[in-house]
């Protein structure tokens, strides 16, 4: 592994580990209010490392809970988009011809849509629940995956080992699952790494607008939103969750980039 992969991976592992362990180490609960310590400043001297919010809740624990929710939503949503995208792309690429043309034309059509507004419409029209957030984000993000998998499948389909398998009478289904899918793995991993920050963006965008995760549950987007209201008197309520969110997004994007470079380099050789 190159340094471009290792460094962001290490950061992400550290952040995830903190989010899992952190709340257990702190004496505070994420939803316990303390009206003697409203907007307490962060610092080593204080009982609250990251300070408290406008209801006196410990910001460290809330940030960790926010990371948990944000990462969970993003990873599950990316898996949803992975399943849809890979299945769709592999079928289109393997079928080829007219089926492929129609299927990809549909993807092109969907690409032209302002999806985020449909997601908001969806959140407005139905009750806001967690499951819907996953579905909505997954439904947005599968398009890229479908395009990439389809392109890759199209080129794999013409390769000698697939022709050989076909000649020996292997069924189409078996060719897809045994010969094509394993060869898609590398590129799929790269694009999942890039799909996760996309999903984080959508989730925190919705939460920032007040349409996502609901109180007392929280996510990084919701924390940033809460921080905006107090930034003039208590800048940390904005800067801490904003910084954590930016760090996570940066790491995922750098990781994806690094993985892609590595993958491309191997392909070029």
């Amino acid at each position: 592994m190159s340094r471009a992969v290792k460094i962001p991976l290490a950061f992400l592992a550290a952040v995830a580990a903190m989010a899992v362990i952190g709340p257990f180490l702190s004496p505070h609960e994420y939803m316990t209010t303390n009206f003697d310590h409203l907007l307490a400043a962060p610092g080593s001297g204080s009982a609250h490392v990251f300070g408290t919010d406008d209801l006196g809740r410990d910001l460290f624990v809330r940030t960790m809970m926010g990371i948990r929710i944000t990462l969970t939503v993003a990873i599950v949503a990316s898996l949803v988009s992975l399943v849809i995208g890979v299945a769709y792309g592999a079928i289109a690429g393997f079928a080829g011809g007219r089926v492929d043309a129609v299927m990809m034309r549909f993807v092109d059509t969907l690409y032209a849509l302002p999806f985020i507004f449909f997601v908001i419409l969806l959140m407005v029209a139905f009750e806001r629940n967690f499951l819907l957030i996953f579905v909505a984000i997954g439904a947005v993000n599968w398009l890229d995956m479908a395009r990439i998998v389809r392109g890759q499948t199209l080129s794999l389909r013409e390769r000698e080992f697939v022709a050989a398998a076909r000649l020996t009478g292997v069924s189409s289904w078996r060719i897809i699952t045994r010969h094509i899918a394993p060869n898609l793995l590398g590129i799929v991993i790269v694009y999942v790494t890039l799909a996760i920050p996309q999903a984080i963006l959508v989730e925190s965008f919705l939460s920032f607008l007040g349409l996502g995760v609901q109180e007392p549950q929280t996510s990084l987007g919701a924390l940033v939103n809460a921080g905006v209201g107090h930034m003039e008197t208590a800048a940390w309520t904005l800067l801490i969750p904003a910084g954590v969110l930016a760090l996570i997004l940066l790491c995922f994007n750098f990781l994806g980039d690094g993985l892609r470079d590595q993958f491309d380099a191997r392909k070029a050789r």
Partner: protein
């Protein structure tokens, strides 16, 4: 060229219909009716109301009624803001959003193309690595993080610029919103431009131009810029979508009374018709822009016309 253009326009119509149908169905499938919040004296009154809005007609007929209204620019009445039509409300908010979005887009394109070209010309240098790193950062950090942090820095701490709407200081009020909105698109355009410029600069015709003794500036201006712009042009559609999404946040943070802010308020108030109207408006805008981009592509690169 005419054939190509006509073909593209015909292709855009089903997309637009699909979008409108999808949005319309979503709103109709939603639980709860438009009169839930109102006091209805009797079932008879309710029936009259439903008749007036045609809510008991079969769904396909309602859709056709909505479509024919759309053709006349009629998006129906707002449910929450009684007395106003959706078209009126959009018309009031649109100028702010348009000014904001167009300025940001222009800024992103000019600076993005410039930065990308400079980075490509000095590939591997410190300047190149700085631009590449900054643009990846710009892509990663969302607008709703950049916006409040810039406000905190430039408006609250340094007090160089006004924080929001209303503290009328003319053009200065626009600086922070426009910059915030432009940043991620600028970063993306710079990245695209750098990659495609590197590609073009290593092509045969550039080598020939060099062999003829042309200077770098002339080669870039006369030969390389146009083909290198192609990926940027095809990115215009997604860029506009990104600007629209971003403007929702920027208008919210800076308190600009534009479409995005109105959309969020409508979404939180469950003003179905207004939300539907804005989605249909945005979708039509994006489909239309993609159409323009397709046609523009055909003008710049004649090869795509025959595909």
């Amino acid at each position: 060229m005419l054939r190509y253009t006509l073909f593209r326009i015909l292709g855009a119509i089903p997309t637009l219909l699909l979008v409108i149908a999808l949005a319309f169905m979503m709103v109709r499938a939603a639980p709860g009716g438009p009169f839930d919040a109102e006091y209805i004296p009797s079932t008879e009154v309710e029936k009259n109301l439903r008749d007036a809005y045609g809510l008991d007609d079969p769904l396909p007929q309602q859709f056709l009624t909505y479509l024919s209204g759309l053709l006349r620019g009629d998006l129906g009445p707002s449910i929450r803001q009684t007395g106003y039509s959706v078209a009126e409300l959009i018309g009031e908010a649109l100028p702010y959003s348009f000014l904001l979005g167009a300025t940001a887009m222009l800024l992103a394109l000019l600076l993005g193309v410039g930065a990308g070209t400079v980075a490509a010309l000095r590939q591997g240098s410190l300047l190149d690595r700085t631009i590449t790193g900054l643009s990846l950062t710009g892509i990663s950090i969302p607008v709703f993080v950049v916006a409040p942090v810039l406000v905190l820095l430039f408006a609250v701490k340094l007090q160089w610029l006004p924080a929001g709407w209303g503290s009328a200081r003319g053009a200065a009020t626009w600086v922070l919103p426009v910059v915030t909105l432009a940043l991620p698109q600028l970063a993306y355009v710079a990245r695209l431009m750098r990659a495609s410029m590197i590609d073009v600069l290593s092509s045969d015709f550039v080598r020939t131009a060099r062999a003829q003794g042309l200077g770098t500036a002339t080669i870039v201006r006369v030969h390389a810029l146009k083909p290198a712009m192609l990926p940027v042009i095809s990115y215009l559609g997604p860029a506009v979508a990104g600007i629209l999404t971003g403007s929702v946040v920027v208008e919210e943070v800076f308190g600009i009374p534009g479409l995005g802010e109105m959309f969020v308020r409508a979404a939180l108030n469950r003003d179905y018709t207004l939300v539907l109207g804005v989605v249909v408006f945005y979708a039509s805008l994006i489909v239309a822009l993609n159409l323009v981009v397709d046609i523009l592509y055909g003008v710049i690169d004649p090869r795509v016309r025959y595909r």
